[in-house]
């Protein structure tokens, strides 16, 4: 039985309603000059309605996981994401963003992508966001900067975000309707272990000629199956082989790009420094 055909009309209405209320909620909650306590309260209420609407849509499309851990970390990610954009204080905004990253990393860990989950924390929460906080705390910003006033479009931003989310939900729902078993439920641990044991022999190929081909097929299969927390023991090895095998060129280009940025930054900084050393040479 096709899940979409039976529930298409109600879920379509539900989705439209959720998108509309989410847009209204975001518009009410985003920082504006004309904010009142009442409008913010209404915004929170509408936001809760919109979120439960989206959850219900996802459920009727058959795409919401049942796992309590998944629901918790996903909830943390979504709610912290909302808090990030509606908070007035930049420091609190950054902290909420860190919570969003923690939630996303939790989702990745639940899906069995250990490396991505931990790397998200190391790179984003550990390095980039700490730098952000550093700057925010040093700057002690009071009120909005001029460029904030120019680019602050609460209504357009709210509408665009809500519509994007609605379209994504719709298209992911379509995908899951086409292939129900692939997305609707996370596989149980037994399934994951069985899948891993199917892949495992190919990585242990003895002959060196076959190894590269087998590796490739293994890396192609591995990311597609979300194992449990202990699903795929060689996840990091697969990821490394994929990155430095098939995508070697892209990795190298990204590295060179970063190097160029680094050299540029040093060139910008050292322009003032050079004159200082010149003075020093003259003086001594």
């Amino acid at each position: 039985m096709d899940p979409v055909s039976t529930t298409a009309a109600p879920s379509g209405l539900l989705l439209a309603g959720s998108v509309a209320s989410l847009a209204a909620a975001l518009w009410l909650l985003l920082p504006k000059a004309s904010d009142t306590v009442a409008s913010r309260r209404l915004g929170f209420l509408l936001g809760a309605v919109a979120l439960s609407g989206f959850a219900a849509t996802g459920r009727s499309l058959g795409c919401v996981g049942e796992d309590a851990v998944f629901l918790t970390v996903a909830g943390i990610a979504v709610i912290s994401g909302l808090a990030t954009i509606v908070t007035r204080s930049p420091v609190y905004s950054a902290i909420w963003f860190a919570m969003t990253l923690a939630g996303v990393s939790g989702v990745l860990l639940v899906l069995g992508a250990q490396f991505l989950g931990v790397a998200t924390i190391v790179v984003y929460a550990g390095a980039i966001l700490v730098m952000f906080l550093f700057v925010l705390m040093l700057a002690q910003p009071s009120g909005m900067a001029p460029y904030d006033r120019v680019s602050n479009e609460p209504m357009l931003a709210a509408a665009a975000g809500a519509v994007l989310l609605g379209l994504l939900t719709l298209s992911i729902g379509r995908l899951s309707a086409a292939e129900p078993p692939a997305c609707c439920r996370m596989p149980s641990r037994a399934q994951a272990v069985a899948a891993a044991s199917v892949v495992a022999p190919s990585t242990d190929a003895a002959s060196k000629d076959d190894a590269s081909k087998d590796d490739e097929s293994a890396t192609l299969i591995a990311p597609a199956q979300p194992g449990g927390d202990t699903g795929d023991a060689n996840e990091v090895a697969h990821l490394g082989a994929e990155l430095f095998g098939r995508h070697l060129f892209a990795v190298e280009v990204a590295g060179v790009l970063l190097l160029v940025a680094l050299v540029g930054a040093i060139a910008v900084v050292s322009r003032g420094e050079a004159t200082e050393t010149d003075h020093r040479r003259e003086g001594r």
Binding site: I95, A98, V118, A127, F134, H279, G283
Partner: protein, 436 residues
Amino acid sequence: MNLLPSAATLAALVKIGLLVGGLMTAAAYLVLLERWIAAWVQDRRGPNRVGIPLTKVRLFGLGQPLADGLKIILKEDFTPSHVDRVLYNAAPLVILAASLAIFAAIPFGDVLPPLGIPGLPDPVPFLVAPGLDVGVLWVFALSSIAVYGVLLGGWASNNKYGFLGGLRSSAQLVAYEIPLGLGLLGVVLAAGSLRLDTIMNAQAESGVWYAFAQPLGFIVFMVASFAEAARLPFDLPEAEQELVGGYHTEYSGIKLLLFLVAEFLHMITAAFLIVILFLGGWHLWGVTGASREIGWIQALLRFGILSGKILGVIVFFMLVRWSWPRFRFDQLMNLAWKVMLPLGLVNLVTVAAVEEFRPQLVAALGPGLATAVAIALPWIACLAGWVVAGVFTPSGTDNTPILTHDPLDIERELAEHERLERAPHDVSPSELAGSR
């Protein structure tokens, strides 16, 4: 739905309980040890009075941690009125939770012999999260989360000393994460795994600890972990003479206790990592072999050797604290970026080259000589790198004033002073620099 926890869950809970209890007790008694060492270094007697309560038994002062703990818990938990309440309360929780969660991925022994409990995988490893494939990265991720505790504690206190302490700390931690990672990369490259237990096994199997195979990496990692643990000579975040108490100036009572415990846990984590990555973990030549099939005596022996090594590293940390002066901040940054970063890169390149050509070496020289060459090359690189760094790298920024003219030319100075007085806001920074 089955609500009863499985045997694996129960085992994990037992391990968590043992680990947290052990760590907290260890932290309390390490404070006592630190005070004893301080007294010994400074030729004092140190804490030796408190023994069993309500008796006159002194027990060399072993009751001191209990008395200290009770005292600090019973102190008034005072919250100043000018703080940001939410973050002020959250900061100690964040730092302690992150410091404790690190230990989920750190093995505190090898394995127990098979217990035969149904539902429990045999043998039972001394590790809370045995399935974690990215153990080293997990440690890095959570120690970078601990930075938030320091930064937020300093900012939320709304106090200049606290804030300066927080900023210094975050700058220091971010800077030293890079040499720390480079020192670690050499080990990961040689062992071929991000799992700490696999890294220990690799050292036990070859019998060559990575401290001997990668001396430069060991030095870089050691220095960087001193800085990450914010111990002297890198304790600028809470330099008492300048910043009162640094980021926890405004904290008191149990919240202060949480910060102090977290700091001690950082040191214990650093000691664990140094031992596991570079000093062979539970391996000791002639005492513990590399065999995977072990009995109870061997299992306990391995646990004891690991703990003993960790205690040794911690005592080293403490001796350094009481015998070294503190760095200046520019010296600290120079050491990170101009000495430790290049040395870490040299180590990484050397290790990569040795690992890449190891099969050819073995084929050409035979296994024994090949191992000797593979150990000798990094030592040569270490000595060369050390000499080059010592000769060419400035140990600090030259802060003497930059003079482009005769400082005794009074008339010029007066004219300059007058010009600045007259129009202080019209002078651009570059002009100011040029006029000096």
